[in-house]
């Protein structure tokens, strides 16, 4: 009895799941309307053009299929001989014109509205780089990097069942937090290659172009979490740099700002303390591995083998085995004309010292060199 009930329950559950799947699938057939005024208008325009195109398709294909059925040789053995009609041709040139004008008018209006980023309540600078987003709140002295939420990308995919997680590839370590009902202007740019910042439910998509700053905006009426992805091919891990925007009430936003500022002060203090002391090898190596796996391994690989020739190997490399000063220089300042980014501002002095020490001693490099946070400070001071 109990088994039968269990079976029945699981069958109903399965049926329910299948039904909800069908319902879900039909909902997934269309564009998501989104939550902002502009996204809803874009959705309406999308629906309008879908219906116009559907009507045209029904008429044109309808006539065609009528002809296919009734004007085949078995039904119509003698073909007509006409092959020209100025009137008809004029009509079917004019009608599409009128339809297109009707479609263009609302499109022009919406486009002008979407491109008007004037009078914002606050501004956030968004910088894309391989393969993360850097958010800088221009009015609040807050900035942070936003990475795919996983300690290390390649290992991430080896975890069984990871792809079944609901927010697989759409989750980040640090979300962009913005207040509801405020016009937020985004200033979008990039450090290396072109990226594109897209959140479908806000109908905001803007290319992040190195050397140029693009402007766009949103005003979200409803608190919630909205997810998107990079939409311009930006190299190996292009599919792995999600965008997550958390929209909160104004009060929550103020609290968040206060908390972030406290955290920043604490972090600055901790970094200063960490930099002031001398680190032993084990600690440097431990922090170095953590930092390396998070920041460097995407290109140079966890085992230091790199992906030559674009991303050199770390093992026995002349840079790693050579003078420590050059090594510090390339990590802090990057290298112009190559894909090596500058990490001087992204990492604390302790992390920089640790990662350089790690690279000089891991994978059998064993130089025995210890780079201390103080060395980094000295380098930066003389820089």
């Amino acid at each position: 009895m109990a088994i039968r009930r269990k079976l029945f329950a699981s069958l109903t559950a399965l049926l329910g799941l299948a039904l909800s799947g069908v319902v879900q699938a039909t909902a997934d057939l269309n564009m998501r309307p989104g939550v902002t005024e502009t996204s809803l208008e874009a959705y309406d325009l999308h629906m309008m053009v879908v219906w116009v195109m559907t009507v045209i398709a029904v008429v044109v294909f309808g006539l065609m299929f009528y002809s296919i059925i009734f004007h085949r040789r078995s039904k119509n053995p003698t073909p007509a001989t006409w092959s020209h009609s100025t009137t008809v041709e004029f009509i079917w040139t004019a009608i599409p014109f009128i339809i297109l004008i009707a479609l263009t008018i609302p499109a022009v209006k919406l486009l002008i509205k979407m491109e008007d980023a004037s009078n914002p309540d606050m501004s956030v600078q968004i910088t894309g780089s391989q393969w993360k987003w850097h958010y800088k709140y221009l009015d609040h002295n807050i900035e942070f990097f936003s990475n795919l939420n996983s300690p290390q990308q390649t290992e991430h995919f080896e975890q069984p069942g990871i792809a079944a997680e609901p927010n697989y590839l759409l989750d980040v370590d640090n979300e962009l937090v913005i207040p509801a009902n405020k016009k937020v202007r985004f200033l979008v740019t990039a450090d290396d290659v072109i990226h594109s910042w897209w959140v479908p439910e806000l109908a905001v998509k803007k290319d992040a172009i190195p050397g140029f700053i693009n402007e766009t905006w949103t005003k979200v009426p409803k608190p919630g979490v909205y997810r998107g992805q990079c939409t311009e091919l930006c190299g190996k891990w292009h599919g792995f740099m999600p965008v997550v925007v958390r929209v909160v009430t104004e009060a929550e936003f103020d609290q968040w700002v206060a908390k972030k500022n406290e955290e920043r002060l604490a972090a600055e203090k901790a970094a200063a303390e960490a930099a002031a002391k001398s680190w032993d090898m084990d600690k440097l190596m431990a922090l170095g591995k953590e930092t390396y796996d998070a920041k460097c391994a995407a290109c140079h690989q966890v085992d230091g083998s790199g992906t030559p020739p674009l991303f050199p190997a770390m093992i026995d490399s002349p840079m790693v085995k050579g003078p420590a000063k050059d090594h510090i220089d390339i990590v802090v300042n990057g290298k112009a004309g190559t894909a090596m980014a500058a990490y001087g501002a992204q990492l604390t002095d302790a992390e920089l010292a640790a990662v350089i020490t790690y690279e000089r001693n891991a994978w059998g490099n064993n130089t025995g060199d210890k780079v201390q946070p103080a060395d980094i400070q000295a380098f930066k001071a003389g820089n």
């Binding site: 007509a80 290396d192 693009n214």
Partner: protein, 517 residues
Amino acid sequence: MADHHPTGIKRWLFTTNHKDIGSMYLWFSFIMFLVGGAMAMVIRAELYQPGLQFVDPNFFNQMTTMHGLIMVFGAVMPSMVGLANWLIPMQIGAPDMALPRMNNWSFWILPFAFAMLISSLFMEGGAPNFGWTFYAPLSTTYAPPSTDFFILGVHMMGISSIMGAINVIVTVFNMRAPGMTLMKMPLFVWTWVITAFLLIMVMPVLAGAVTMMLTDRHFGTDFFNAAGGGDPVMFQHIFWFFGHPEVYIMILPAFGVASEIIPAFARKKLFGYSSMVYATASIALLSFVVWAHHMFTVGMPVAGELFFMIATMLIAVPTGVKVFNWVATMWQGSMTFETPMLFAIAFVILFTIGGFSGVMLAMAPVDFQYHDTYFVVAHFHYVLFPGAIFGTTAAVYYWLPKWTGKMYNEKLGKAHFWISMLFVNLTFFPMHFSGLAGMPRRIPDYNMMFADFNQLASIGAFGLGLSQLLFLGIVIATIRGGKKAEDKPWDGATGLEWDQLPCPAPYHTFDTPPKVN
């Protein structure tokens, strides 16, 4: 005149005969079609389900890049040039192409260009991995060393295309039989001559783009490097100034094919011949002023976006005229549905579906939502596969008796059509939905919410890929042991090649120009 020509490999190496060269182009394009298709299979296998299963993301990017480049430059374009070589001289009553040695050269460049491009897969650092649109600076500062092979390969393809285009133009303007006025030319010739003008105008622009890439990479220039005062967006403007007309280069000859086949099987003259010519010319002209609709999200001024949006939507008018004319040609005709006609009708319907999504993409404020998603992938595959490739396939079935003197197996031909029709839609239609749901293009892995559509598309793609082997089998079987074709296998076919030449067409045709009434 006897068919004097060397035999064996020398015949093919040294030939200046338009029919030989046409055949080589067609076989070459089919081989490239299979190579590019195999890469598509790798892509679809990886995308069959979420998670990384088969390939590393970098190799995935190499596959999308090479698939695009090979299909565009290796499969579709040479197939159109192959058709041009075979058909244009016969259709205008000329003995051969005007510049036969150049014709030989423009073909023989291609195998080397593609050997060079494909060899980059085996180089250190891998093949080009920046997408077939090769946006800077991903394709300059951040690109693998094999990019230089890609650049030289593109230069060689460009030279080949330009020479092919010059040949078509010179042939059509100088070698028409007496009485073959421009407005009497078959529509295939018209669409090709317009295509040839597009080619000679935009291929040098592409050559300029890759040359600037080369100097940026090796000679210290900064055309596309913002840090040196250059502009990465300028690359996109230059690329798409080539790239948009390129789209029509790939589709206009297929328009011409449909305009030959539909009247033949409807047994009724093509409706609105002159408006077809003018519509083709307007599409070609408009194609030069719409390029930035590929770039609505790069941050153009609103005025620019408005201009490109409106100009793009205008293209729907002449394209609509063409579709209406094909339907009107069928109207009150006396149709039969042999394989070429089936492919031609499917071409009209599915190309038009691609046109509908094209109008949607033209509307800038909604394009922000479609741009760089699978919706775009669905759109351009609809105009390219059931558009350009179905057009070529229809042409092959239609003119195969003329080329080989043999008939293909009609049952198998129809089977090929219906299987292709099923799978082409199963592959590409779900991509509209994954795009609308928010799936970006060119990603090797995705969230569970896109899984169903990707699985369908992958199943479709495997079927579509396999069904093209059936096509290969049908063509080989026809050449080797097909039934002998009558001189006029299609009773509704018109034109010099059907009215005045036997099947197969002799090695040399129209040594004395035919009379055109």
